[in-house]
């Protein structure tokens, strides 16, 4: 039994770390623009594909210390590439709509997501591509569970990135500007902050982290395909809501929480119901979490509860 539980725990943390990385992108954008960036899930997918080709191109350098350096270089390059893509999308498809209704930017984001997905499907590959494992296939026995180096790597790397981001938004001027713009864009403007820069930065970091998540995910499951962004992205967004949309620590917390809920929930359901409800209902699990959270505690774990005074003078509702 212990082995089973530890196994589930490790699985949960691994997928949770990935959700958390993606959720950060959603939460930062929503915090600033009140926009659900549907295209973000595709950043995750594009990141996986970019890395795929970079890895293929540098396959000859695999192995050893050089190989490790190459892999990290690929991470950096992918981060930057997808980050720039994110900035470009913001500038072309979202910025012109900043003064429009709430609906318009969301529909635009939807359109961008469709474009990205279909471009990859039509011009890269319709079929799943085999993603090379860039982490050596080493595994450890922990209390009867099998923990792979890959899983450890994912969790450690993701946490390191999250800590880096937390440091950035708390300790650097640029990061603090981002938080200021998140809190109240009008006031930030009045204080002389050029809001476009923090916003562009958010659209650089968010998608970048999503791309990293894509690489980790593809490396873990061994394939990359044009459709992988949709469901994973949706779940990551649910994680962001769970943790409190708009809150960066919330996104991290929510990611891991959703990973745990989903893994243990879907893992235990067949046992509890003797196979009546199978694991294909894993996806429904995540949606159910969403519905429950939104009904009972829409602010999530760490999100801002909209106060009464806010409602009278803001028109957010």
């Amino acid at each position: 039994m212990t082995g089973f539980l530890v196994q589930q725990l490790v699985n949960a943390l691994t997928i949770g770390a990935i959700y958390a990385l993606i959720a950060l992108g959603y939460t930062m954008v929503y915090g600033v623009l009140r926009l659900i960036n549907f295209a973000h899930s595709e950043m995750f997918m594009v990141g996986g594909h970019v890395a795929f080709f970079l890895l293929a191109a540098t396959a000859s350098l695999a192995g050893g210390a050089l190989g490790v350096l190459v892999v990290f270089a690929i991470f950096v390059v992918t981060f930057i590439a997808v980050g720039l893509l994110g900035v470009g999308i913001e500038a072309t498809a979202y910025r012109p709509l900043r003064r429009s209704s709430r609906l318009a930017p969301m529909l635009s984001a939807l359109g961008v997501a469709i474009i990205l997905q279909n471009v990859v499907m039509l011009f890269v590959s319709r079929r799943p591509l085999p993603f090379p494992a860039f982490v050596p296939a080493v595994s450890f026995d922990v209390f009867g569970a099998i923990v792979t180096l890959n899983q450890i790597f994912i969790v450690v790397f993701a946490v390191a990135l999250m800590l880096g981001l937390a440091w950035f938004v708390n300790a650097t001027t640029l990061g603090i500007r981002i938080r200021a713009v998140s809190e109240n864009m009008q006031t930030a403007r009045l204080l002389g902050i050029n809001v476009n820069r923090p916003i562009s930065l958010i659209f650089f970091i968010g998608p970048g982290l999503g791309a990293i998540a894509g690489i980790l995910y593809s490396g873990y499951y061994g394939i990359v395909v044009f459709s992988m962004g949709f469901i994973v992205g949706l779940k990551a967004f649910i994680a962001a809501i769970l943790g409190g949309i708009g809150s960066i620590p919330g996104a991290m917390l929510g990611g891991f929480a959703l990973g745990l809920l989903e893994t243990f929930g879907a893992g235990l359901l067949p046992k509890l119901t003797h196979g009546f409800i199978g694991s294909e209902y894993r996806d429904i699990f995540a949606f159910s979490v969403l519905v429950v959270v939104l009904i009972f505690r829409p602010a999530g774990f760490l999100g801002e509860t909209v106060t009464e005074e806010g409602m009278v003078y803001k028109r957010d509702f």
Partner: protein, 284 residues
Amino acid sequence: MILDFEAVTKRFGALLAVDALSLSFRPGIITSVIGPNGAGKSTLINMCAGSYKVTSGRILLDGVELQGLKKHQIARQGVARTYQNIRLFDGMTVLQNLEVCLFPELFGKTLVEVLVPGASRAMKEKRIARCMAVLEHFGLEGHAGEFAADLSYGNQKLLEIARATILRPRVLMLDEPAAGLNHGETDRLKQTLRALARPDLIMIVVEHDMSLVMSLSDHIFVLHQGRLLFEGSPAAVQSNLAVQEAYLGSPGEIDDLREAARNRSNRVRIRAHTDIERRRPDAA
């Protein structure tokens, strides 16, 4: 008919905005609520209208408890209000802004309106006629087809008041109606408000513009730090030394400031007591 606040308290976390306040508002007269910023005036209106939940105490309109009701239920009890920062429906026309206020009364007939042939047009025309009459009363009929967002500020304020009164409310609460208005517009406002007074209407005005308050009101409540400091007629309030010194400053000081401001710009309004407060920190 009376609007009663019984030991009403409102806390925002650690901040006590209204402290066991007990007031009664009577119909047929214009009652003003004044006091420095933070005294709890707007909070009073917000609690009565249902925007804020009362921490403790009761609000009764003719014996009916308002404090637990939802916002739209309170509105249907005949409680209308205007907002400090105008909240019109920007994307709708002036006429539509008024028309939509008829919703509580006409919603029940929607089924008829939609399904019965000919009813749609007839009912619409009736509504429009009714609203145009009200607009004429406020001098806004020429702007009926314009979007509410395109009106001048003064006209927007008038429209807010028109909307609040179209269903003949029992309680009309105006939150700083003169804010941002120039001299002429304030006069027009004063006349409009005076004309609204009815024997069966409880009219409450929260304001900072002292000359407007003094010339308009029949009765004044002076609030300070969530409590009632003084109440009485305008003359009584003005001559009460405590109130005068602490919150109004001497008449001479106010006139000096007004003169200076008028020389600078026509539209600047002195918030008398706020300035005085800043110059006399010990009076807080």
